[in-house]
Assembly symmetry: C2
Homo-oligomer: 257 residues x 2
């Protein structure tokens, strides 16, 4: 049978499961909060145009106000100054939007240390057990943080010293960007970088190194616990916003049963 | 080889091509214009938050103002009063978002008659030649209208009697909704209905019948001329807007070479 008929047939008969890795979008969707004097994004908002009423007797529809980097979203290279000559979100080649994914699960470590950082050694140990990171694919970094996403305060986990959420060390971010063949990094947290990464050198190293290397970010993923360690395929197609730095998007995973 | 490894391998080696069916999003994106007293959607707009400047020295990002039904977008059942107890855009089952698609090409007819309407007989003749419409899949209706999408005036094609763009007859819309197994209808025009459909009985029959039957709409598609008549697979994953009536989305087609 042809590859595509096989795909459609397998989705239909349950041989392939489609798993939604996306958080729903609503006014409750947690958003990043940067300190003064930096600009911040607006909360997600629907503005009703009509709802089977005078403004439209047979139809219901809304306008949307959101940020490019809100909810489950895609970071394109131009999001960061290191990638400013790179692709905007509409320029990412479409054949990169369907790619293999692997899951690195450090949820146990992040549960006891909200400032937990992924190190090169964790990734190398994972590769020892599971083989190389996927060329042109996603490294999905599980921290268990998706369980907090219903509660903006616990999700951002900020105190007087700033936000405390797990991320990636400076060395590991540089290594993932420059020494591996991944297309990008996917995380469960509000952004790809740790909550404390504003104070790293460089600040926000995942953004700085990965986007600077033409790689991508995917954030606020959920259901990573339902994926196999290797073998999933992730569909991550951002909106083609002309000149855009990123986009909210639907992320789906295909998993063979 | 496993289905998913086969898929990834084929995308990599060109055996499967990924074709973008999506129009780019910008302030030039054409939008629907309904007459008074109906509410209308806003033009797509980016609002810059920072661009490697005081407001964010290392980063560039924007807020977005758009409509749910802007550019290439997905119509969910609740968009129409006939589907008001049906799925909102976040409730569409994810395994319906990757589905087979067929192309019905009436571009020659629409080129000489901007009010051209698809009739049941056209679809039956197509089925005679190509087999049944795909169960749970998309009927993609090619009219050549995507060639006009760069020019809002030619795309909407309105005069003193209103907009004149191709669509579907009342009888055919009812038949597609009630007598076929398709998941939905995809078009190249600003909406699934003809420009003149405000004056049909019922008004906007594609919206009324298809959404009322729990089916979906996809609009402002492009590159349908690059798809085979049968055999493509379409990935059409809307944003999971809680309670939303529809969503701009990225639509990708997979085509075997
Ligand atoms: N860390 C940041 C700093 C500035 C702007 C955005 C971010 C993100 O995390 C993002 O991409 O969501
Ligand atoms: N025909 C309409 C009437 C009212 C509201 C929206 C529409 C659309 O076409 C749409 O879904 O884009």
């Amino acid at each position: 049978m042809s590859v595509l008929r096989n795909l459609v047939e397998s989705i239909r008969n349950g041989g392939i499961e489609v798993i939604d890795l996306t958080a729903p979008l609503s006014s409750e969707t947690p958003i990043l909060r940067l300190p003064e004097p930096f600009g911040n994004t607006v909360p997600f908002e629907l503005r009703e145009i009509s709802r089977y009423d005078d403004r439209g007797p047979a139809w219901y529809w809304n306008d949307i106000v959101t940020g490019e980097h809100t909810g489950t979203h895609f970071d394109a290279p131009v999001h960061w100054v290191t990638g400013k000559d790179g692709e905007d979100v509409s320029q990412v080649p479409v054949d990169r939007l369907i790619a293999p994914a692997v899951v690195l699960d450090l949820a146990a470590e992040a549960a006891v240390d909200p400032d937990f950082l992924l190190e090169i050694a964790h990734v190398k140990a994972w590769e020892e057990a599971n083989g190389p990171l996927p060329e042109g694919g996603w490294l999905l970094y599980r921290t268990g943080w998706d369980a907090r996403s219903h509660d903006q305060e616990r999700f951002l986990n900020a105190n007087e010293t700033g936000p405390h959420t797990p991320g990636v060390s400076v060395e590991c971010a540089r290594w993932l960007a420059e020494e591996t063949a991944i297309a990008g990094l996917g995380v469960e947290t509000v952004g790809t970088d740790a909550g404390a990464a504003h104070g790293f050198d460089p600040a926000f190293p995942c953004h700085s190194f990965l986007l600077g290397a033409g790689k991508y970010g995917l954030t606020q993923l959920r259901n990573l616990d339902r994926l196999p360690v290797t073998g999933a395929v992730v569909v991550a197609p951002p909106l083609p916003i002309a000149g855009g730095s990123g986009s909210p998007l639907r992320v789906l995973a295909l998993v063979e049963r």
